[in-house]
Subunit: 584 residues, 2 copies
């Protein structure tokens, strides 16, 4: 069983559903590109994912990373795959041409990311972290730092890593202890210990560029006293060549449930030389502007793994014969109702998630590159609202998909040989890192809805209403109705939340995860309606039939969950929050 | 962090909720026992689980089982723990005194099992399989076989294993290929390969007694042509001493997601000497009478792991400080609403599941030991209906609990050190083996409800109605109402199912898992009402407050799920089942 990139669906999304050429038509940065190029790039990414990355996915999990005397060695084949990744230019796909990137749209990049996560999530984390660090430096560092660090990062010659978490400080970064001292020569000395650092140390690249959160002496308490520093593993000479080692060492690597081929490091900074990125005490701000991109990327991990799970379990189910079908014949298990349910349950979330990822990619493209400020602000607003949903809902549903995949295979899903159980183990972390899904839900409910003054939610609801308005085909009629119902319920609960929040702000957060899930279900319903509305007469009959079957399944079996989730939110957590901790 | 057996809750269930002395008062087999003895035994089981089994749980997972030249070695400490387990008489707790067992009630045994699963699931599987094999032999084998095999099995000197699955035959046992030839001297020659055999080979016991499904020459096709054989690893001499090896060898062991200290074996039977258990071609029948016990046991694996997850994540949450509480103070995370939700979400299912397990234990005690045939039949009926629910719902909710546990710990839940991720990996298998949860749901919907002529479901509904009737306290009022609502919805959907089933039997099974979950939620609501109704004035205040908080949480946040699940069932799967497989 192997992974095949869903190119037909990807091209359909870019060209039919989101009409990328029109969408980005007015955006200068992308005027050189066209659909044909996008399609060719997707095809190349597919080949690389299928032929280079997927074949070392299970062996990478079996072998894991090695740690000896401060050195991390990645599993067999990873170094070669990384070389090929860099040589083919994949690291620079979405990077700024000024620094050697290809400047391709994020709407395309999300699909490339999906394929890489699908085929080898542990591998994908190395370039993904480099990409995150690249964006933070690009957005906030001085020109000098950018000139020095960005080009080799876009080549992949230098990798990136992000140093946020400390042993006592995870979700609560305000209490970190890592210190920065100003050397008054343009450099700072960074000292402290960071944990859970993905790609903190490895043997893939010539250098590793750490972005580290630290506190300056006398900085304010809490989140407003944190600064961001660029700390290279190996110092860089004025001419860009590598110089002396810096005081950056890896103390150990974690033994984890999954993503075993990705090194998760304890990093010690011992008076390491670092350079301020952005302003003093504005480190969290700098980090968070880039966090939306990272969160979307981690969300896509969920979609990618969900897609692989669907493909592997579908392939197994079509081969494995057990029991009898409706006609009494000895049958492949994909003819049994419950197996069909488990397969569709995976597919409807994977495909709606992919659509939302492309939609969000387009918003990022507009947010950063559109000439019109109103459009930039609108897209930024959509991203602000949709990012926590994407991160949490993509990954919750991706994890669920992988579990369905195991269940379809039964005992064969539980043994390592078929690869399904690895997907579950690899998918679990996506619900946790880059801000746990509980934190995403809190961000969504509190900051993006209840305390928001910019009408972020209204903007999304208006887009959903518009899609309902333009739906006129017979095929979309019932879905349109169901979406309207779900939208009304969600809006009503959102109003209720806003009305009650100031008096019950802490307690109502008990419903944050349900509220985010309600939003996720609603937004996926919107995506399904967009998909149905984009199925032209000329679509391949099977492709169309598959989409309609899934859309109708989503409408009947999934979308009505919104009502129940809203009901749970409005139920509140008064007694739960009033109780002493020992009663919980 | 360590596991502590929930003895207070266990004693409360036995004495207050189910009044075990009254319940089994009229049952001769148990007249020698009293609550004091039960309580003392639970305490001993707790000590053994906490002090002997839990300490080797993680090391057992890290080391796993070893396979070399057909020999399986269990991880360090397992042999010694097993010796102690046997010497303390735990294997014989629930066994027939005629064969050396202690004859204690199943209602007590389920709680002992829970503790062992809680503290070390992989270990627990060895005695659990012996127990299953013991019961099959006890119910169906000849006196001679029973006299020879049962006493050493109840001592644990000889272990048991069950050979059902073959490479091409899992859920569908009708198509097995293993052959039995009648040697016409009271013995049979068994040849074939069985896979996924838990405890098929190991170094814990002197002998392993395999119960093997096989086909005799000329036997009818399908499930009605299967016979059951007892096949010892080492042949037994007339005096009960061990003789020659038999043709039973272990070909390999599986590398699995979890339960790594439990050997999962490929077993080759090469003309091995076996003895018929029950009648020719009635092997599945013999196996299935014992299957209810095994399924309940595997269900309890879910509760046990859920309990450990709750305890470990609760302990972590009360120590770990991140963020601020409602009063703006730096706070342990168990003061945050979403963490409280995740902890309660674990506890309400664990505790209701434990109650149902005790209830079912009592039914087994009555089914096998009550003097009155009507009572025996009633209890057997309740078991028939509740077993698929218990197996699937206990394990689905146990798996969910373990995932909540990981999420409470965040990154620390994902690394191996804290033990939470192991619980997830160990819990996953329980949704698969002993009949996947999809198969349980099918059994429940089709055989136990739609095709049932004995009023199995009505009997449970009547018990729920009776509990509602006797609920008169103010504390139970709202729960009683909510349960009545859920019951009406569930009955209505059940009627709808029965009315539509004959015309749409294959298609409606798409809703089987949702229907079973609706039943599970309902039955747990019934358990919570029983618990609330059993909280006496004299209960310890904290114990009472904890139970009421959980019952009310269950009432508000969980029980109303029944309506949504029923809605999904009635939605049907017509389009899904009408579609070609390639469209799924």
């Amino acid at each position: 069983m192997s992974y095949r990139a869903p190119l037909e669906d990807m091209n359909f999304l870019l060209n039919q559903v989101f009409k990328i050429e029109d969408s980005l038509g007015g955006v200068e940065a992308f005027t050189d590109f066209d659909s044909e190029l996008y399609s060719a790039i997707l095809e190349e990414a597919a080949k690389f994912s299928e032929n280079v990355l997927f074949p070392i996915n299970r062996s990478g999990d079996e072998e894991g990373c090695h740690f000896e005397n401060g050195t991390v060695t990645t599993p067999k084949g990873f170094k070669e795959a990384y070389q090929e990744f860099c040589q083919s230019g994949w690291q620079g796909t979405n990077g700024d041409p000024e620094y050697g990137g290809q400047g391709l749209p994020k709407a395309l990049h999300v699909l490339i990311e999906e394929m890489i996560y699908s085929s080898n999530t542990a591998f994908c984390l190395y370039p993904s972290l480099t990409n995150g660090a690249y964006h933070a430096i690009h957005a906030h560092a001085s020109d000098e730092l950018k000139q020095t660090y960005l080009p080799p990062m876009l080549e992949g010659r230098w990798a990136g890593a992000m140093g946020l978490t400390e042993p006592h400080a995870g979700s609560d970064l305000g209490i970190i202890k890592t210190k920065a001292e100003n050397n008054n020569d343009g450099t700072y000395s960074i000292s402290g210990t960071k944990i859970f650092i993905t790609g903190g140390e490895h043997d893939l690249s010539e250098n590793i560029i750490h972005l580290v959160l630290a506190k300056l002496p006398g900085a304010p308490e809490g989140p407003k006293g944190i600064s961001l520093f660029l700390v290279p593993k190996i110092k860089v000479n004025a001419d860009g060549s590598l110089g002396d080692t810096n005081g950056v060492t890896c103390g150990s690597i974690e033994h984890k449930m999954g993503i075993k081929a990705s090194s998760t490091c304890v990093m010690n900074f011992d008076g390491a030389e670092g350079y301020l990125v952005g302003k003093e005490n504005r480190g969290l701000f700098a980090m968070f502007t880039m966090m939306n991109l990272e969160r979307l990327s981690i969300g896509i991990q969920g979609i990618g793994l969900g897609e692989t799970s669907y493909q592997l379990s579908k392939a197994y189910a079509s081969e494995r014969k057990q029991g009898r079908n409706a006609d009494g014949e000895f049958a492949s298990i994909d003819q049994h109702a419950d197996v069909r349910r488990m397969l569709l349950q995976q597919r409807v979330f994977n495909e709606a998630g992919r659509a939302l990822a492309v939609f969000m990619g387009l918003q990022i493209d507009k947010q950063y590159h559109h000439a019109d400020e109103t459009q930039r602000r609108q897209s930024a607003g959509l991203m602000a609202l949709l990012t926590p949903i994407a991160k949490a809902f993509f990954t919750d549903k991706g994890y669920e998909a992988c579990n369905h995949g195991v269940q379809v295979l039964g005992g064969h899903g539980y043994v390592r040989e078929w690869g399904l159980e690895q997907l579950v183990r690899d998918a679990k972390i996506a619900q946790i890192y880059e801000g746990t899904n509980g934190i995403q839900a809190q961000d969504f409910m509190v900051r993006k809805v209840c305390l928001d003054k910019d009408g972020l939610l209204d903007a999304v609801c208006e887009l959903i209403e518009k899609e309902i308005e333009v739906s006129t085909s017979a095929e979309s009629e019932a879905l349109k109705q169901a979406l309207q119902t779900a939208l009304s319920q969600f809006k009503s609960t959102s109003e209720w939340l806003k009305a009650n929040f100031s008096a019950r702000s802490y307690e109502l957060q008990g419903g944050a995860v349900d509220y985010l899930h309600a939003a996720g279900h609603l937004v996926y319903g919107w995506m399904w309606l967009k998909i149905v509305n984009s199925l032209s007469e000329s679509a391949a009959p099977n492709f169309k039939a598959r989409k309609l079957l899934a859309a109708n399944y989503y409408r009947d079996q999934v979308l009505p969950n919104v009502a129940r989730l809203c009901e749970k939110v409005e139920c509140g957590y008064e007694a739960v929050m009033a109780a002493d901790s020992e009663l919980i």
